[in-house]
Symmetry: C2
Subunit: 405 residues, 2 copies
């Protein structure tokens, strides 16, 4: 039994500390093993995919500098144990124990609730490049995406051997998670890039509302809902037909940093904006309908014969369309200040999606979008990464364990 963040505080902080976040009954609940704000870490799937999208994101991509297969394995064991503790609201280790040693937890989440923290691990193509004797275990689809139309990719915002997706309703809890995993991995991994997302842009479960993106639109209304098991099995989870047994029950994560050319967008007319998306700005309704969830009618025509939803509208090209390709979107709005070159706002969508085959799903959709999407005038893809996400694990095990036999 680890020290929970709240129990430790109550013990060491006394009355003033306990007062700071109100009530001891909650801590008691934690001791009894239940925490309404904690998302279970262990299970057949990693959390953070089918679990409801939280409000905030911190996403880290890492280069592995470990020199051996054993070291990589130890890292994954260490990370798994720490993630299980943090998602339960525990410290990664005592924040204050041995005066002469660095604290085993950095402490900034001490006293904070788990706030639905999920930590999701992914393995990039580099893990299978031969450094760790794992080359024969590389699933065929796990290679960088081919160049796509509209790419303006920056190497420093792309790629990575491992990823950690930390989502929570409290950004400090998500930051704490990635920061402590980085610290625990020192010597085995180096942080390659880090992205903070301040607001979720997707609804991933039935009943969750569709938030607006920074263009002011509801996009992804017809996202796969993770409680639609049939759709999840068909489009998201890697099936038993995957030759690499270790990835069955897992999925692929594609991350794309999509910068919006905010200033240009803001100068475009309402009509241009609505025709770009194929939706009404205020209601979120498709141009053929009145309400957000009205069925998108791709063949409806105006009296003059022109399509109601234009041929190059985002909703037409991004939707499942003729070939039925769907993905589970789970992205976040970001801002990273001012672009030092142009002096313009660097803000947009940190797009994350999950699917069973990134090349026939995300990449296929993006090829379609990249060629014709009216939105291209207003966006730039500045970062890209792909990771295989192993299935979940159970207590005593670790994420990726099936790789090490």
């Amino acid at each position: 039994m680890g020290l929970t963040r709240r129990r430790l505080l109550a013990t060491a902080g006394g009355a003033a500390g306990a007062l700071a976040f109100g009530g001891g009954g909650y801590a008691l609940g934690r001791e009894e093993g239940g925490d309404p704000e904690a998302v279970p870490f262990y299970g057949p799937r990693q959390a953070g995919i089918a679990t409801p999208a939280q409000d905030r994101l911190v996403f880290g991509a890492f280069d592995v500098v470990a020199g051996s297969r054993g070291e990589l394995r130890a890292l994954l064991q260490h990370w798994t144990a720490a993630a299980a503790r943090m998602t339960a609201g525990e410290l990664t280790g005592a924040a204050a124990e041995q005066p002469d040693a660095p604290p085993a937890d950095t402490g900034e989440a001490l006293g904070l609730k788990p706030a639905k923290l999920t930590i999701t691990f992914g393995l990039g193509p580099g893990v299978f490049d031969g450094r760790f004797g794992l080359a024969s275990l590389r699933p065929a689809p796990l290679h960088e995406l081919d160049a796509l139309p509209g790419d303006f990719l920056e190497p420093a915002r792309s790629g990575g051997d491992l990823c950690v997706q930390a989502c929570s309703d409290d950004p400090q809890v998500a930051f704490h998670a990635v920061r402590n995993l980085t610290r625990l991995g020192r010597g085995s991994v180096e942080l390659r890039w880090l992205q903070l997302g301040f607001g979720r842009t997707s609804s991933t479960t039935s009943g969750q509302s569709t938030p607006r993106n920074l263009m002011g639109f509801k996009d992804g209304t017809n996202n796969i809902k993770s409680d639609d098991r049939k759709a999840m099995d068909r489009s998201v989870w890697v099936g038993d037909d995957e030759p690499q047994a270790w990835l069955r029950g897992g999925t692929y994560l594609v991350a794309r940093r999509i910068r919006m050319l905010i200033e240009t967008w803001d100068r475009s007319s309402l009509s241009d904006q609505e025709h770009t998306f194929g939706r009404r700005k205020t209601s979120g309704a498709p141009l053929n309908g009145a309400h957000e969830h009205d069925t998108v009618d791709l063949v409806a025509r105006q009296g003059d014969g022109t399509l109601v939803i234009p041929a190059n509208a985002h909703i037409r090209l991004a939707g499942p369309g003729a070939n039925g390709t769907r993905i589970l979107r789970r992205g976040y709005s970001y801002t990273d200040g001012i672009d030092p070159v142009t002096g313009q706002l660097d803000a947009g969508l940190f797009f994350i999606c999950f699917q069973r085959d990134p090349h026939s799903q995300f990449a296929e959709i993006q090829r379609r979008l990249g060629r014709r999407d009216a939105l291209n005038e207003y966006i730039r893809h500045t970062g890209s990464a792909i990771f295989a996400v192993p299935p979940g694990t159970s207590r005593g095990g670790y994420v990726g364990e099936a790789l090490f036999g």
Copy 2:
């Protein structure tokens, strides 16, 4: 009466839109003029100083490119009106009205509650440099801070003619505010730098807990509480002795981007960390005490005669100390990803403070800290700015109106 964000949605979005954020009773409350989540904009002081610190921040600094005094005045009028609307949860203008014109609001906050949004405007030294005929109205203390020990300032993260501090419990609402003011100011201002803060680090009112900074410590426990009117009058509000009448009842904002050398800090021992701050990590108690709010005893000594709170401890040097200098701290934790030069995490504290004289208050404290503070080993000041914050205004008026007489 403007369209509220929620009313507009209910009108135009129909049932699906209304469902997205639940309940129509709230919208009714808005029509009646009361919104429990709205902080009043109008009043003798600008909101965002003495009002309780919200959880999230978006801070923008602007260069004025307007060519005349009249243009600057019109900007302040325009900004004030828009801020009053947004803090009440209204749009800056109709998001969807004329198809052929750009929407008068960018729309990403449509349907969101005000979430205690405050918008606070400040005027930098540049406003009084002669471009606008205001040179004779410059208050004597409104000039850039002298070079301070420990400065590693980057010009692109420093200075600015105007500032907008947007605080809210919802980061999308704060982002929307700065983004729309930038848009409305196009041609008169250009965004110089933008900083997102993901978590408040200060308690500014009695009863609000002290959050932890990214070093895992509670710092600023003895912050001025804004409901302590005597302390606010003595240390924060510009008094009637200020020759420039327009600033009486206002204050000065100093912003410092303080990067923490996270990796170095995380490798230092618990004992080093606690002696650096002069506080216990877990409880937040001063080293001479047991509880966070115990009185700091700067003269207590160990049995061997050494000071309990070391001579170079942060708590000793940053506190009011011998000369009684105090400031109102209202800062936020930030992360901006990876430093491209060092490959290390760029994260820390975006420090904001308010005081009646920045040079004898903030700068004096920082000179003391910069010379001796044990914390210097772990931090770098990478950005700095100073702004005069005019008093508030009433309906029909605008922030800074007394300047234009």
